[in-house]
């Protein structure tokens, strides 16, 4: 098998040059899909026969919850790559994805609480799904705090990678919490093996929002990673040339 595609990721310069184009296209797709899904979900999808219009919170609750978990998986994969192949870009990805993941988890918990009040009659219950999501938020805080507490970059990268990999045990707990324990939380809307129980008028806008959120996440992550690469490689000649070019273009 040809491994050149993998070795390319070892070069921060190559990543910086390529990601500029990726950010543009991902941001463009997100800027189209998110407003479309938003208007579709808020104004055109039919109300739920039991929950009425409060169910419309699903169009941000589910995408943020999916992103919160996907982002943690990304952290764990980056952690393994960083530990095994000592790839610097993996640590950049891990450090820069963690705050976005924390924000997504926060949004999933918050919109869940706002949705819970009219639906369950309570902002918060110590339910298995909710509690495991709260643990996910603390895991993100742990990764962020650990990365900032250790001043040696290589030690920080190793410690964060280990925490990210160990913490991934929480992801299947979140996923199966609604099946393993008695819970108020409803089961997943999207499953890989079955058609959704909702009618298409309801789940199509949700799918648009989920894809839009993925593109949004990827664009913001690349934006943050590009800045971090510039910071870490500040001494190299290509970064100096790039800074000159950026400043020259603005004058």
């Amino acid at each position: 098998m040809n491994w050149t595609w993998f070795h390319k990721w070892g070069s921060p310069k190559w990543f910086y040059e390529m990601s500029g184009r990726w950010v543009f296209w991902l941001a463009l797709v997100a800027a189209v899909l998110l407003p479309v899904g938003l208007v579709w979900g808020l104004a055109f999808a039919p109300p739920d026969y039991q929950q009425g219009n409060s169910f419309r919170i699903i169009y941000i609750h589910v995408p943020t919850a999916i992103l919160a978990q996907s982002c943690y998986l990304l952290l764990a994969v980056a952690g393994v790559i960083g530990l095994v192949w000592k790839m610097k870009l993996a640590d950049v990805a891990l450090q820069q994805a963690a705050p976005i993941g924390a924000w997504m988890t926060f949004l999933a918990l918050l919109t869940g609480a706002i949705w819970g009040k009219p639906t369950w009659g309570s902002w918060w219950v110590w339910d298995a799904r909710l509690t495991s999501m709260l643990i996910l938020l603390f895991l993100y805080f742990g990764v962020i705090a650990l990365g900032q507490a250790i001043s040696n970059r290589d030690s920080a990268a190793k410690a964060c990678a280990v925490l990210a990999v160990v913490g991934v045990v929480n992801i299947p707990i979140i996923k199966y919490s609604v099946e393993w324990w008695n819970t108020l939380h409803q089961p997943a809307t999207f499953k890989l093996t079955e058609r959704p129980a909702m009618p298409p008028e309801m789940w199509l806008p949700l799918l648009v929002m989920v894809i839009g959120f993925y593109c949004f996440f990827a664009a913001v992550l690349l934006l943050r990673m590009r800045l971090e690469v510039l910071r870490r490689e500040a001494r190299s000649s290509w970064v100096k040339a790039e800074i000159e070019r950026q400043l020259g273009g603005r004058k």
């Binding site: 808020l42 219009n53 913001v220 800045l227 500040a234």
Partner: protein, 58 residues
């Protein structure tokens, strides 16, 4: 369209405050997530420009 009028759309069938606060806060967080890295990038470029100018003088 699932609503008869704009007032009905805003009311969200008594769930207005819940739906709109959830969407409003989420929109704010998304904007924050885009704006902060962009501002940080601009600040970094300005700092680097100052450093490069200083170094070229000495």
């Amino acid at each position: 369209m699932s609503f008869a009028s704009f007032a009905e759309f805003l009311a969200m069938g008594q769930h207005g405050p819940y739906v709109w606060s959830a969407y409003g806060i989420s929109l704010g967080v998304l904007i924050l997530n885009v704006a902060l890295p962009l501002l940080a990038r601009r600040r970094y470029l300005q700092e680097e420009a100052r450093r490069l100018r200083r170094e070229s003088k000495s």
